[in-house]
């Protein structure tokens, strides 16, 4: 039989019973539709989480100091006085594929400026910090290595601090006071919004880490060290090398530090949505299977109904194979058409959901492909038995069938 002829035949046969064809497709339409809708919603959700994680910065590896015990009470991570500026310098100099390093010191403090006061995060960082965090300076400039060396009293502030202390004023060049020490504002950061944990990232004052350690916190250790790897692929290598280097430097039996990467955070943050999407896809595939059973059922009915037609076709020279292909293509046409309608339905449903709830939705192309292929596959699987049955009919019996 020629290539296009069976498709023409299938189209004709399905058009003959429009209502039935549509009802048969409904199973696949709903199945594919729910797969696409659920995948769109969960992908939208994980995309949102990924964006948040990405907003933390580019290819970040962070070294936290461990906890310490004092008189039986154990502090949390980041409080052991073990991580030093020298560690940060060693990481920068000795670990391959490290492009930027920033030793971090963090505190919350009351600040004064312009006759107003505000409690905010005071962070000691290196001039690499904006690069690591992928965070642009909106106004002014970042402080420099010279500022770090000279323990300069300079600060770069976030958008929230600007809003709270410098209403309708240009903060660059002005002074803010931390613990009675005046800091000159040299730059303002772009707004970055809330992070993954709901914290306002713009509520921050960034000063050179030396200034923070010597002038404010008056301590010799840092809370953490932020390291930027050269690329996404080198993150793991950088993490391992830092681990090796730090164990060597600290020489303690128990590691007194932890090295975390953005990849781990990403995996953690997306694990819930991943479980969700697997669950939804599993439920949706059950409805796809039900749709397939519907097609098989109707194809079986159709074969019985058209026994005589099959007999005629065989009498005039159709081989079993021709009949098999004819019915198989009918089943595949049904399910593939259902699949395409299902994709449209699913995407529409996702759009509506996003409109009503405000959730971001995203339909990945791979899932559209998967939906197309699996609906065609369902047609083949569920159509095969009826088609095979039709192809095995005895032409004499089939011609006699009433």
């Amino acid at each position: 039989m020629k290539f296009f002829a069976p498709f023409r035949l299938a189209g004709r046969a399905l058009r003959r019973n429009k209502m039935r064809s549509l009802l048969t497709m409904l199973g696949v339409i709903i199945g594919v539709g729910s797969v696409i809708a659920s995948v769109s919603i969960t992908t939208g959700a994980s995309k949102q989480v990924e964006d948040k994680v990405a907003s933390l910065g580019q290819n970040i590896v962070t070294v936290f100091s461990g906890s310490f015990s004092s008189g039986g009470s154990r502090s949390g991570w980041g409080n052991a006085p073990t991580l030093t500026v020298d560690d940060a310098i060693a990481i920068k100099n000795e670990v391959a594929n490290v492009v930027a390093v920033s030793p971090e010191v963090r505190d919350r403090m009351q600040i004064l400026a312009n006759g107003l006061n505000w409690n905010t995060a005071i962070q000691g960082e290196s001039p690499d910090y904006p690069q690591i965090r992928d965070w642009d300076i909106a106004d002014g400039a970042m402080f420099t290595d010279a500022d770090v060396r000279s323990i300069a009293k300079v600060a770069v502030i976030g958008k929230t601090v600007v809003d709270q202390l410098f209403i309708n004023e240009d903060p660059v060049g002005q002074t803010l006071i931390v613990r009675n020490i005046p800091f000159k504002i040299v730059g303002v950061l772009e707004s970055k919004g809330f992070n993954l944990f709901g914290q306002d990232q713009d509520d921050v004052v960034i000063i050179p880490y030396t200034s923070h350690m010597r002038r404010i916190a008056k301590r010799t250790f840092v809370s953490s060290i932020m390291v930027q790897a050269a690329s996404k692929d080198s993150i793991t290598q950088v993490q391992e090398d830092i681990n090796t280097l730090m164990r060597d430097r600290h020489k303690s039996a128990e590691p007194d530090f932890t090295v975390r990467t953005q990849l781990e955070l990403m995996a953690m943050a997306t694990s819930t949505t991943r479980i969700m999407s697997v669950l939804l896809a599993a439920i949706a595939s059950v409805s796809l299977i039900v749709g397939g059973i519907g097609i098989m059922n109707i194809m079986l009915v159709s074969v019985t109904e058209r026994t005589r037609e099959i007999g005629i076709r065989m009498a005039v020279g159709a081989r079993g194979r021709d009949i098999l292909i004819q019915f198989l293509i009918e089943a595949v046409t049904l399910s593939a058409a259902g699949g395409i309608m299902g994709i449209a339905l699913g995407m529409t449903a996702a759009k509506i959901t996003s409109q009503i709830t405000g959730w971001p939705t995203l339909t990945p192309f791979t899932w559209i492909g998967i939906a197309c292929i699996s609906s065609a596959a369902i047609g083949i699987v569920s159509g095969f038995y009826p088609a095979w049955k039709a192809s095995r009919l005895d032409p004499i019996e089939a011609l006699r069938y009433e």
Binding site: V316, A318, R319, L399
Partner: protein, 252 residues
């Protein structure tokens, strides 16, 4: 000239449980090109079984069958399908047209299964020619439910002819038709036969068999008689007579 059909000592035995049913027991028969043969017999005489074997729908359990010089008694399902497509045109009692499908598409159907590709344009030309042969070219786009019984049977004949078979096989072709339409259909067969097409027809109506050239009567799976039809009827003449008779009734 070689025989179109050459049956030698054909047997067909059905196994139904414990009992063997001998439907055909030793039929030897030659049919030459251009013949018009009626196979007759009461029900259970084995004529349908013989017909199915001649039509390559079924395989004999014994004996040999040469169709157009080719041994077809040993072919498998697919090979027999190809033979049916190439060499045999079927006409059935119940017309067996595809419903909701136009006459032209019904006639085109066997070409779908040809081993050589025929372009859609060529298919249309051939089907139209076939419909012209049976005098139905003007009904090409009618569906079976818009056609009379006689017209439906003509579409079926056109379908049987479309692949230019060596043999036209008709199974009770007038069984569902009234007597006048039956004569019309026999007229079509006679015309085709005059044009050189070999026709084998199964019937149980003696009236219908009298339009053929040769009459074979089966009983209990064997040939009882095989003779030339003595006073062969001419369908055209019979129709004329019938029309005159009808007019006479109206006049009276």
């Amino acid at each position: 000239m070689n025989a179109v059909i050459k049956l030698s000592d054909i047997h067909k035995t059905y196994r139904t449980g414990e009992v063997d049913v001998h439907a055909v027991r030793g039929v030897t028969l030659d049919i030459a090109p251009g013949e018009f043969v009626a196979i007759m017999g009461s029900s259970g005489s084995g004529k349908s079984t013989l017909m199915n074997m001649i039509g390559c729908l079924d395989r004999p359990t014994g004996g040999s069958y040469f169709l157009d010089g080719l041994d077809v008694s040993t072919l498998d399902r697919d090979q027999r399908a190809k033979i049916r497509n190439d060499k045999i045109g079927f006409v059935f009692q119940g017309f067996n047209l595809l419903s909701r499908t136009t006459a032209l598409e019904n006639v085109e159907m066997p070409m779908l299964y040809n081993s050589q590709r025929i372009s859609p344009g060529e298919q249309k030309i051939r089907s139209t020619r076939s419909l012209e042969l049976v005098g139905l070219a003007d009904r090409a786009n009618h569906k079976p439910n818009q056609l009379s019984g006689g017209q439906q049977q003509r579409v079926a004949i056109a379908r049987a002819l479309v692949n230019q078979p060596s043999l036209l096989l008709a199974d009770e072709p007038t069984g569902n038709l009234d007597s006048q339409t039956s004569i019309e259909i026999m007229g079509v067969f006679q015309k085709l036969n005059d044009a050189g097409i070999t026709i084998v027809m199964v019937t149980h109506e003696l009236d219908v068999a009298r339009y053929t050239k040769r009459m074979i009567i089966l009983r209990d799976g064997k040939i009882l008689t095989d003779e030339i039809v003595p006073a062969r009827l001419n369908a055209e003449a019979e129709l004329k007579k019938l029309r005159l008779a009808q007019e006479a009734v109206k006049l009276a």
